[in-house]
């Protein structure tokens, strides 16, 4: 599928393919949810053996495996199935650089996506992110681990692009699994990073960060970034990565103002997220990400670069600039940086 953004250039074949691709997605995330790729990791297996390992119906997995093979996520030879290169390296649990938890998280949100017609009518998601995190341990685990999986590369690239020399204290607001906190600490020797997030999230972060060389310069601070004070002129850098898309506009203005107060003069606020064009229809990934936010947040969406700049300006920030992060990836993002004068 290659949905081209843009006026009237699409043909009906694109549209039909679009619907078909939706099915392909369901096939892949379901397979992740069931643990198909771990089952296949122990060598080529016939469908019945896969069914036995997964504890599923005997006939159904064969059909699923055939579809996975057709999509390039499995190989079939002589009635036996094995992982393909992509599924072998990305979709087994514990494989470095893998994205299994992320796709399991997508799978857990499938029932909510199914209710999109109702959500468009009422504007209210079936369960909000806050409720999911508070009530559903399976969701919380796959959500946080899934974010860790896809955060490593952008975190390293972002940390490498920031002017960190002389920075002593950084605050990572809602830093989740700690990928960004870790990348900052590794990038700048001597930098102390405070990671502020909810207690159950920090439990996972603690596990993920154990053994990391800069661990003792990362402080895990339990709190709720809506309420817990950030402090006054205590930091040289405040990072908000992938949290503003969960909030409404008023909430984000408040966060930007509080970050200003928390920074020392000369300190910087960095906002990292999916960012949209002025008319909110580009890039495609961001515009569709907004729909994803509709499905499980009450007010979130992807915002425009112009909105971030305005909020920062109004809070008093100067020398505001922005740059792309992981430009070659489908889920490319941007960072906006502003300085407290």
């Amino acid at each position: 599928m290659s949905p081209r953004a843009g006026g009237s250039g699409r043909c009906v074949a694109d549209m039909v393919r679009l619907v078909e691709s939706g099915r392909a997605a369901r096939v892949l995330t379901t397979a992740c949810g069931l643990g198909v790729f771990d089952a296949l990791a122990r060598g080529p297996l016939p469908a019945v053996a896969v069914a036995e390992r997964l504890g599923t119906d005997a006939r159904a997995p064969g059909i699923l495996l055939d579809a996975l093979a057709g999509l390039g996520f499995a190989r079939k030879r002589g009635g036996r199935y094995a992982n393909s290169r992509v599924s072998g390296s990305f979709l087994r649990s514990g494989s470095p650089g893998g994205v299994l938890s992320n796709l399991r998280y997508q799978e857990l949100l499938a029932p909510a996506w199914a209710r999109l017609p109702e959500i468009v009518r009422t504007g209210v998601p079936p369960r909000s992110l806050r409720r999911l995190l508070a009530q559903d341990p399976e969701f919380s685990r796959d959500y946080i681990l899934g974010m860790a999986e896809i955060a490593r590369r952008p975190a390293r690239e972002l940390a490498g692009s920031l002017p960190l020399s002389g920075a002593r204290d950084a605050l990572d607001v809602g830093g989740g699994p700690g990928a960004f906190a870790r990348a900052l600490a590794e990038q700048q020797p001597g930098l102390r990073v405070t990671l502020l997030d909810l207690p159950p999230v920090l439990k996972l972060a603690r596990r993920l960060l154990s053994g990391c060389a800069s661990r003792r310069r990362i402080e895990l601070k339990a709190g709720d970034y809506h309420k817990t004070p950030f402090g006054h002129e205590a930091f040289d850098l405040v990072l908000m990565s992938h949290i503003t898309h969960d909030e409404g506009e008023a909430g984000n203005r408040r966060l930007v103002t509080r970050a200003f107060d928390a920074l020392r003069p000369g300190g910087r606020l960095v906002i990292h997220d999916f960012m949209l064009s002025r008319d909110r229809t580009r890039p495609l990934y961001g515009a569709l990400f907004s729909v994803h936010m509709l499905v499980y947040t009450r007010q979130g969406r992807a915002y425009g670069l112009d909105e971030y700049r305005r909020w920062m300006r109004e809070a008093g920030f100067g020398s505001i600039r922005s740059f792309p992060v992981c430009a070659g990836l489908a889920n490319a993002t941007r960072a906006v940086v502003g300085s407290r004068p």
Partner: protein, 339 residues
């Protein structure tokens, strides 16, 4: 240049992007947004008020549709793209809304894939849905929307010499019968399907210019007779994929009985290659059927030819249909021997 990591990662990201791309289109058709936009309700406020939808949610949805190329946006108002005007506005002759609304109805079943894999059984079968009258008009029209091109191609490829009576078993929207009578001037066709389906079929074919050569026989092809020695040609188009092998063998035998000696049985359907992993569309259709019918499947040409020979048909051949289209299908034809 993209790294190999980026190429592999993007292959996965594309799949995630896929469900986020398809669902907004289906939801838009659920509310027929493109038709309303064509009639001047072109802002989130106008649409929201007119249809009772949430303004914030609608704005996000419309922006996504613009990102996908179905709308263009300027100064907060939206306009249909050329593609949307042609296929997604209800007053257009090429309207595909029924099909996409049907896809929207099936989304729930697809969301349930994980459960179905555990149990092997759909929560509700296609027949349950049809009998409840839940989406019969949309379902039948949907099948008609996509059948036009293969129906024309199949009619073109069959030899109509001496063929005067045909039976269309499980005729659905009647698109194949309609194409057949267009092609064969002396042909009349009996369209056989469930009464609730035929109600929709009659409506769709009311104004057909060869309508008097079409007659309707309400029947359940599973339990009732299909006739005895009456027809020169019997068609099973996209019927066999909703049934299991045993039922299909029985159905083929019944169809053979309905044929005159020298008559032909035509099975037209999507087929998979011998290892059943491709082409992509029929391979995914196999799962779709698992979710809906609990018994249907996609079959190979070899399967069909085997059932036909077992039922006594000879000179079995297969031919590709609508080869240039996005979803090519196949016809398998067998001849009932003369005594």
């Amino acid at each position: 240049m993209l790294t190999s990591y980026a190429l592999d990662f993007n292959k996965l990201a594309e799949v995630v992007l896929a469900y986020r791309s398809s669902k907004p289109l289906l939801v838009a058709l659920h509310y027929d947004l493109f038709s309303h936009i064509a009639r001047g309700k072109d802002t989130p406020s106008l649409l929201g008020r007119g249809l009772g939808l949430d303004r914030r949610a609608l704005t996000v949805l419309l922006d996504a549709l613009a990102a996908l190329g179905f709308l263009s946006k300027s100064n907060g108002a939206y306009r249909n793209s050329r593609l949307a005007s042609r296929f997604l506005v209800d007053s257009s002759p090429d309207y595909m809304g029924s099909n996409l609304r049907y896809q929207e109805l099936t989304w729930d079943a697809w969301s349930d894939l994980r459960f179905v894999l555990k149990t092997g059984k759909p929560r509700r079968t296609l027949l349950d849905w049809i009998q409840q009258g839940f989406f019969t008009p949309d379902y039948v029209k949907a099948m008609g929307d996509v059948a036009r091109e293969p129906a024309r191609d199949l009619a073109r490829r069959l030899d109509w010499t001496g063929v005067t009576r045909a039976l269309d078993i499980g005729c659905g929207a009647g698109t194949y019968s309609a194409a057949f009578v267009e092609r064969a001037p002396r042909l009349s066709v009996v369209l056989l399907d469930l009464p609730s389906t035929l109600k929709v079929t009659r409506g769709l074919l009311k104004a057909h210019r060869h309508g008097r050569r079409l007659s309707f026989r309400p029947a359940d092809y599973l339990t009732e007779s299909l006739g005895d020695g009456e027809f020169d040609l019997a068609l099973l188009s996209n019927v066999t994929h909703v049934e299991d092998e045993k039922t299909n063998r029985r159905l083929v035998a019944k169809a053979v009985r309905a044929l005159k000696p020298g008559g032909r049985l035509v099975i037209h359907d999507f087929v998979v290659n011998e290892d059943r992993t491709g082409p992509r569309f029929p391979a995914l259709l196999g799962l779709h059927l698992l979710l809906f019918t609990g018994k249907g499947a996609v079959y190979t040409v070899k399967d069909y030819a085997g059932w036909m020979r077992a039922a006594g048909l000879g000179r079995v051949v297969s031919m590709p249909i609508a080869r240039q289209s996005l979803h090519p299908s196949t016809a398998v034809v067998g001849v009932k021997p003369r005594p």
